[in-house]
């Protein structure tokens, strides 16, 4: 496997423009003759599909939801960054680039991140023109708010529903093209395999989730926009149907999986309340602007939080990080929450929570001021927990939120399988080892609106793509394989449900491949994952039939893939003998307990090649070296 | 662009027509009530009013036909909405309940089709009884006029007619309780405050009109026609 990042030469500021100049074009007459498949209709998928269709390509989109509008991008709350510098606070493309690459702890490509920052402004223009109702000032111009990891105000927002509004903009653009007859949209269809002919991606296999039919689709290129894999942890802030299956099946067909162990864990989520818990709800981290995080100083303090006096409260973030206090970055906040609960200081029934207390803020600013700022979040908290956060501290705990890793792509967002493009959270490209807030929406739309439409043209123009026909044996082989796997899952008829397996897998992952990792823990995790995977295939109980709507069969196939991915994540974490961004290895910390990077040895992208599963996952590591020509690598410090 | 007919028969067009015809009909019944109340005026007030109307000649007929057309459109659309509602949900809910709050579901709104149909039937009888009924004649200012007043008084001596009429007027109130507000919303009134105010006004108007109409038969029945205190007959 050869990993060529294809980053253009030249100064950072000129790379993308120079590349665009060199890119091959497909004439309008010829675009009509080419078909592109887009899998997933979130920000990246919907924007790519709409843009490709506008250019003249024939596009087919596939999503697992009942409407393209329901992709998980819709849940993003906070906002989207752009280097508009409307606030005149000294923002620039360079600064956005720098913040993003530094926030990612120097584990992403300079050229990709710079291009992302360059595209950011166009995204805002595009969204506004589509009628996305961003927050505005009294004068009628766009407003900005500030967000973690930046010293400028560059975040555009639509109240707490920015993802929803941007997605609806992209979805509507896509529906416009459906109306124009250039996009064929298939909902409730799940991609189960990639079809590779002569080394090139030439189509996909899907299952119609309504009646179970396995279908074959041919195309000249496939764009995978299927999101992240946070649900490998069972509990996460991801939507229940978010999954890794499409990406993993591509990996199995030869696409390299990059940095799988880079998982972001969000510090302010509502804690687990019982075994039945199905997902975790995130609350904006802006809460940490006014809330103080603490736990009781002693282990056996069973008093109500309001009765615990000041001297018995351990404000661990304020004590450890006097200058940043409660506003340390996401990874630092999450890690410290785990440390105190590991020490037995956690609160609540499960002991897996810490307090986020607004008592002092309410005393200082009054309840009305706090309500004005956080009213909707407080309501949401009360609705879920039945506790009044104005009267007693919130209980919070970190939860898996975003995966920076994903399929490896070059500068053109093409994987190592020619013709397979990967965009949005599904690729590994721009966030390194940690993603900054308000950057996910930016990346999804940058990829979909402003990168893929050009780079696909370059690929198609440069290839001789003859029709192969879905009768080709590669199609039937892939379709048979998909059907057989489903039949096999149904045939086990064991004793344990898919959810029980998934929950157990999630626990292993959370305990040992979660907030902090150790060599010992990872090695035992790998053993446990293998054993549980064996048991899964012997003892899983999948109800129903394959030819009807059957959600638990869908889950079973997805969990089967998680079992393989989980092992890869542990292997990747074990291989990376350093700490960086969200990846914290207990063995590699500064004396003060901070992440200790090893730029000498680990300044690379881990790209894993799938070789097989035979009791254990057979895999091979390839490295793409990261060269930093334009920024200087520094150790982060928040003391 | 749709043709005017297509626009008029679209879901919005139908609703706009229902609203516009509804408002027209409300204005008509206010006018009608004014005429009815003439029974409490001077002895010949009601017949004089009738005479003035008849003196419009062909214009009266045009107005009558116009009114009929408006009424038929209103009823026709209302009935077709009811039929369409049945095809739009062939399988009913086992349990159905309103969530309250801003919902305008009430006995009034849920029974629009029923009250509407009863009113339709009523109007047929009503025209038959009063507009086409046998009346004597009286002389007013040297002109021969129909003695509608005697017909009214005579008719409402009959308990079935008096109470039947009063009951239908209650249904009219119910119809207007939702209808007055709804007509304005159908015509595009979108202000939330204006809507709230109008909902109250609509309710009050419904009550006032219903009482205004049903007061007359009840009063005549219990008062014994020309013997009643407020009615002077010659």
């Amino acid at each position: 496997m050869k990993l060529d990042s294809k980053v253009p030469s030249g100064p950072l500021e000129e790379k993308w423009n120079r590349h665009l100049k060199d890119i091959k074009l497909v004439s309008p007459n010829n675009k009509r003759k080419h078909k592109v498949i887009v899998v997933g209709t979130g920000l990246a998928g919907a924007s790519a599909a709409a843009s490709l269709s506008e250019l003249g390509y024939n596009v087919q989109t596939f999503c697992i939801q009942d409407s393209a509008r329901r992709a998980h991008s819709i849940s993003a709350q906070g906002g989207i960054n752009a280097a508009k510098n409307y606030q005149n606070d000294g923002d620039s493309v360079w600064r956005l680039f720098y913040d993003t690459i530094k926030g990612g702890d120097y584990r992403s490509r300079e050229a990709n991140v710079y291009r992302l920052a360059e595209n950011s402004n166009n995204i805002i223009d595009q969204a506004v023109a589509q009628g996305v109702p961003f927050g505005r000032e009294y004068g009628g111009l766009l407003d900005n708010r500030s967000f973690g990891g930046a010293q400028v105000s560059r975040t555009f927002y639509s109240r707490g529903q920015t993802g929803q509004q941007l997605l609806l903009g992209a979805y509507q653009a896509m529906m416009k093209e459906v109306h124009n007859g250039k996009i064929e949209s298939f909902t409730r269809h799940e991609m189960l395999d990639l079809v590779v002919v002569d080394g090139k991606a030439r189509g996909i296999i899907t299952r119609d989730l309504v009646n179970g039919t396995i279908n074959k689709w041919e195309a000249d290129a496939v764009v995978l926009c299927t999101g992240g894999y946070g649900n490998v942890f069972y509990l996460s802030t991801n939507a229940k149907n978010s999954n890794v299956t499409a990406a993993w099946r591509c990996h199995r067909r030869g696409a390299a999986f990059a940095n799988p162990c880079f998982v972001q864990i969000h510090p302010t989520c509502i804690p687990v309340s019982g075994d039945y818990q199905s997902k975790l709800t995130l609350m904006s981290e802006s809460l940490r602007n006014d809330g103080r995080v603490w736990v009781p100083r002693s282990k056996d303090d069973s008093r109500h939080p309001n009765e615990i006096p000041e001297e018995d409260r351990f404000y661990y973030l304020e004590e450890k990080y006097p200058s940043f206090g409660n506003l340390v970055p996401r990874d630092v906040a999450s890690r410290n929450a785990k440390l105190v609960t590991d020490d037995g200081l956690g609160v609540g029934d499960s002991g897996l929570a810490v307090y986020l207390d607004f008592r002092d803020a309410i005393k200082r600013d009054g309840e009305d001021a706090i309500r004005a700022k956080y009213g909707n979040l407080f309501d949401m908290y009360q609705n879920i927990t039945d506790e009044n956060p104005y009267k007693q501290p919130m209980r919070i705990f970190p939860a898996v939120h975003y995966t920076m890793g994903g399929l490896w792509v070059d500068y053109n967002l093409m994987s190592n399988i020619p013709g397979l493009f990967v965009a949005g959270e599904a690729n590994f490209s721009d966030h390194g080892a940690n993603r900054l807030g308000a950057s996910a929406l930016m990346q999804g739309l940058s990829d979909g609106y402003f990168i893929i439409p050009y780079t696909i043209g370059d690929y198609i123009a440069g290839e001789d793509l003859k029709v192969v026909g879905t009768g080709h044996e590669a199609f039937s082989e892939a379709a048979d394989k998909s059907q057989k796997q489903l039949d096999k899952l149904l045939a086990v008829k064991g004793d344990k449900t898919v959810i029980e397996f998934h929950r157990e897998l999630g626990k292993i992952m959370w305990d040992k491949v979660g907030i902090s990792r150790s060599k010992e823990g990872l090695e035992s995790a790998i053993k446990e994952i293998r054993a549980l995977r064996e048991e899964f295939w012997q003892n899983v109980r999948v109800p129903g039939e394959a030819n009807y709507y059957n959600k638990y069969l869908e889950f079973a196939a997805r969990v089967a893939d998680y079992f393989e991915l989980a092992e890869l994540m542990a292997l990747d974490a074990l291989d990376r003998d350093e700490s960086c961004g969200c990846h914290l290895r207990d063995e590699f910390q500064t004396e003060e307990g901070e992440a200790l990077r090893n730029d000498e040895k680990y300044s690379f992208v881990s790209a894993w090649e799938f070789l097989g599963v035979n009791g254990k996952l057979e895999t091979k590591l390839h490295k793409e070296d990261l060269n930093f020509e334009f920024v200087e690598l520094k150790q982060r410090s928040y003391k | 662009m749709p043709t005017l007919l297509q626009a008029a028969t679209s879901q919005v067009g139908r609703k706009v027509l229902t609203g516009a015809t509804g408002i027209f009909l409300v204005l008509f019944i206010i006018f009608h009530l004014g005429g009815n109340l003439a029974i409490f005026g001077e002895a010949d007030a009601m017949n004089r009013y009738s005479l003035i109307l008849h003196n419009f000649g062909p214009l009266l007929w045009i107005a009558r036909i116009g009114l009929l057309v408006v009424f038929v459109i209103h009823a026709w659309i209302g009935i077709s909405i009811w039929f369409r509602k049945r095809t739009a949900r062939p399988q009913k809910y086992e349990v159905y309940s309103s969530k309250g709050g801003p919902s305008k579901q009430s006995l009034s709104s849920r029974s629009m089709a029923f009250t509407g149909v009863v009113l339709l039937i009523f109007v047929v009888f009503h025209i038959n009884t009063f507009a086409l009924g046998d009346t004597g004649t009286v002389m007013i200012d040297g002109q021969e006029a129909t003695d509608i007043k005697s017909l009214v008084i005579e008719t409402f001596q009959n308990p079935f007619y008096a109470f039947g009429y009063a009951f239908v007027m209650l249904l009219l109130g119910a119809h207007l309780g939702h209808g007055v507000w709804s007509a304005f919303i159908s015509l595009g009134l979108s202000g939330k405050k204006a809507s709230a105010i109008l909902y109250t006004i609509g309710g009050i108007a419904a009550v006032v009109l219903a009482i205004g109409f049903l007061f007359i038969p009840i009063y005549i029945f219990f008062g014994g026609g020309c013997e009643a205190a407020l009615i002077s007959c010659e």
């Binding site: 329901r70 | 662009m1 919902s103």
Partner: protein, 248 residues
Amino acid sequence: MSEMTINLKIWRQKSIDDQGGFQTYQLSEVSEHMSFLEMLDVLNEKLIKEDIDPVEFDYDCREGICGSCNMVVNGSAHGPKRLTAVCQLHMRTYNDGDTIVIEPPRAAAFPVIRDLVVDRSALDRIIEVGGYVSVKTGAAPEANLIPVEQEVSNTAFDYATCIGCGACVAACPNSSAALFTGAKVAHLNSLPQGYPERKRRTIAMVDQMAKEGFGDCSNYGECEAVCPVGISISSIAEMRKSYLKAVL
């Protein structure tokens, strides 16, 4: 933590061609902290172990924003709580021994796929005919070129917040999609960006509603009452106004 026993009467229908009917189940050990959908998850785990097909229902984000979930609980779309999608409803709303009737949203335009899962693609087709601004990627002018009055922008947002769950249709006695359609028309028509296409958009979307087999709007206002994001029926009035201006 108090635990309850809940009696469930749930609509079961194997496929679009199946006639369907109600089944009753008893579920004990229901925690008050469970969400309504988690209660159904627990029921399904139990059913799977008993070799009974689990109850199929749509869901995804479980945060009230994706609009996937939409079931009619004791006769109310999304259950008894206002401004709450059923995924955000918690079992503490119920008491030990309660019976809960769960049905799919019922409308000719929403055929049942299985149990509580329905096909809501009719809503997509309404958007398809005009629920957008026809701006191509790359053709957008600088974002701050056109100022938009803050109040106008806020109102547009209120309409744009629709999650497309179809509860409005489910709850409407006439099965009308006027709130869904009105919300998108009012959102786009009120903004300068959506203004040029307002006539074509409104006419096409209104037309499509009828083609999909949704009923007429009789201003019952039940849609607003069940809408998990509280979209006002003023959007329907706005749609009518736009329509009148477009055709007259």
